[in-house]
């Protein structure tokens, strides 16, 4: 088990980085979808006035 910590560090960094990036992308996507829905509703309200 010599050098186990190097292996552990490499896999931990890969998984942490990929998870953070995936969560960030998914959150950004959700925020943008909400903002888009709100703006579309606002545009509809303006058009019906």
């Amino acid at each position: 088990m010599k050098n186990f910590w190097y292996l552990f560090a490499a896999y931990s960094i890969i998984w942490t980085a990929l998870c953070v990036y995936m969560i960030r992308l998914s959150q950004k996507n959700k925020e943008l979808q909400v903002e888009l829905r709100n703006l579309r509703a606002q545009l509809e309200r303006i058009l019906t006035k």
Binding site: K2, L7, N29, L32
Partner: protein, 247 residues
């Protein structure tokens, strides 16, 4: 040579699979493949005699590197298409692939030194392969800095040119691994004469890892493209509302 073509076909088949899959199915297949890959790495693949357990970094390090090369290849192709067709869709692909390529390049640059320290006795060496990989990372970070937030056609065209020129570094890295005498080991996956330096168990494990990483790449590409497209739609909508309010 035949093995090269098999691998190229294998990689090129993914865009087709990507088009056929829906998001949930894609994510499920990706998670299953990734879990199988991890199980194969730790339970099935043999431990290399000279390097010991630390050699298992190879599976994710090389898979990340191949995914990174594929991402930058996509940036190059999409940038050429953008300059030719002037279509926003190609620009969206180039921008998304560049960001994901930088993520994988960062992983390569982190896992490389973690593997190098116990084997070479040093974290980093300014040898051609490592230096060229760092240059590649810097080129595409510059590309992303050119494209921060808002869509500007002039910036997009400059970035497309940088994306094409930057790709020249990729064959140089490959060439440096094969031809230069550096600390970085010569290719073990496909050696001269088309043979492989891996045992069959190691090769199978590596191929499953590569499939998992390519599936992850296309999943991230889909998500990142959706962000870019939503941002663009928001800009258009805001512009329409502003015009209506002023009118």
């Amino acid at each position: 040579m035949q093995k090269w073509w098999t691998i190229m076909l294998f990689v090129m088949a993914f865009p087709c699979i990507y088009l056929c899959m829906n998001r949930v199915f894609h994510a499920t297949v990706m998670c299953i493949t990734m879990n199988v890959a991890i199980m194969l790495i730790f339970l099935y693949a043999p431990t290399e005699k000279m390097q010991g357990i630390v050699q298992k970094i190879f599976y994710f390090h090389v898979s990340s590197a191949i995914t990174m090369f594929f991402a930058f290849f996509l940036v190059c192709v999409a940038s050429i298409m953008y300059l030719w067709k002037n279509s926003d869709w190609w620009d969206t692909i180039a921008l998304s692939a560049a960001e994901i390529g930088v993520v994988f390049c960062t992983l390569v640059l982190i896992t490389g030194p973690l593997w190098a320290r116990p084997i070479w006795g040093t974290w980093w060496s300014w040898d051609p392969t490592l230096t060229l990989t760092l240059v590649l990372w810097l080129i595409y970070v510059a590309y992303l800095m050119l494209r921060i937030e808002t869509y500007d056609p002039k910036r997009a065209r400059f970035a497309a040119i940088l994306g094409i020129i930057g790709f020249v570094d990729v064959p140089l890295i490959r060439w440096s691994v094969e031809k230069w005498r550096t600390l970085h080991p010569k290719p073990v996956l496909i050696q001269e004469g088309g043979t492989t330096g891996l045992t069959s168990a190691m090769l199978l494990t590596f191929l499953v890892c590569l499939v998992a990483f390519l599936l992850l790449f296309f999943y991230l590409l889909r998500e990142r493209m959706s962000v870019v497209q939503s941002r663009h739609a928001l800009e258009v909508l805001r512009h329409d509302i502003d015009e209506l309010c002023v009118g």
